[in-house]
Amino acid sequence: MTRIIHRFTRKVPEWQPRVVPVKLEEATPQQLEALKVTPSNTKVSDYVLTLAHDVESLSVRSPLFNAIMYDRGGMSREERELGALAASMVNRCVYCAAVHADRHAKLAKDETVTDELFAKGEMADLDPRNKAIFDFSRKAAEAPPSAGQEDIEALSKAGLSDEEIFDLILSSSLFGWANRLMHVLGDPVSRKETA
């Protein structure tokens, strides 16, 4: 029995597709090629097998995802995760929010920021830099996007360089993309207990 998770959590659920994923044994050579590079670079998940239905998109999406989240320089990985988390909370992608809250907590070696965000959302009490990052990202994730000049100015005032601001625009926007795949094409479900 699986149970759909509706509340934000740092405990990463399983992802259950709402469509039938590509079967690995039936994958075309082009699909197999695209499946080599995945955002997590681990085993081929149902999520990636689902995206393999559109192999041209998957082939560019995986390296683009990795570049935005992991390329050196600019904004720290921890802060990019905060941008990803803000968007995922706005779009209520419980799976994405769990993965990126967990990564944030591990990179920051601190669970208080994500605890506070899950408890209070946009009313969370954060330090000025994290607050500016979260507020910009959550407004940018609204549909239509509602971030304004004052939100960019708040980022500058909090000490972010222009390079860091651009990295934040990229990482928060990336989750406008990822959330619309993960939240729409599947459900976050509790992990099956091994008997």
């Binding site: 709402r18 998109s57 082939s59 549909a143 500058s156 390079e163 625009i169 094409l185």
Partner: protein, 179 residues
């Protein structure tokens, strides 16, 4: 004056695999000109900007179109841009909408495109009411005869646009700050 033509027109081909700013939708839409302060800021992420353009090709003009032809995809893209309040980006996509031009306007009654009604309501919801999307929305497309592969293709199109729209919006805000 004979010198005007050459001045300031030197292209930066060779960078980003032969693309210059006018070939890169996010930079051209945000008005990021070569040699500007913002152009220098974003240049360290040239690989990401280039891949974003490749991704646009993959969702707007793929070799394997499935149920969604290039002109229909362009029209859906224009519709999503308009739903996000980005008229300039909507116009960029609407130029390729061909027979589906009317569908690019979210206000158009669905009568003309009855067979696309389920697709369009799915697009509108995923684009702008993302958090409310449920299993029923995917099931609705399946009942309307849309294959699972086409459902993924449609999601990738709308989802990519959500990304592109927000990168452009962010760059425009940065651009205004540097003027």
């Amino acid at each position: 004056m004979a010198t005007d033509r050459a001045a300031g027109r030197s292209t930066d081909k060779g960078e980003r695999g032969g693309m210059n700013n006018s070939d890169l939708t996010i930079l051209s839409q945000a008005g990021v000109t070569p040699d500007s302060t913002l152009s220098r800021v974003v240049s360290s992420r040239g690989n990401i900007i280039g891949m974003t353009q490749v991704a646009e090709e993959a969702v707007l003009r793929p070799k394997e179109t499935g149920a969604f032809s290039h002109d229909l995809r362009a029209s859906i893209a224009a519709r999503v841009a308009r739903l996000a309040g980005d008229e300039a980006l909507a116009a960029y996509y609407a130029a390729d909408a061909g027979q589906y031009a009317a569908l690019a306007d979210p206000g158009t009654p669905g009568v003309q495109y009855k067979e696309l009604a389920a697709v369009l309501s799915f697009v509108d919801k995923v684009a702008n009411q993302t958090r409310e999307a449920t299993a029923d929305d995917v099931a609705g497309l399946q009942h309307a005869g849309v294959s699972d592969a086409d459902i993924v293709r449609l999601c990738e199109l709308v989802a990519f646009l959500a990304f592109q729209i927000r990168v452009i919006a962010g760059l425009r805000l940065m651009q205004r700050g540097t003027v």
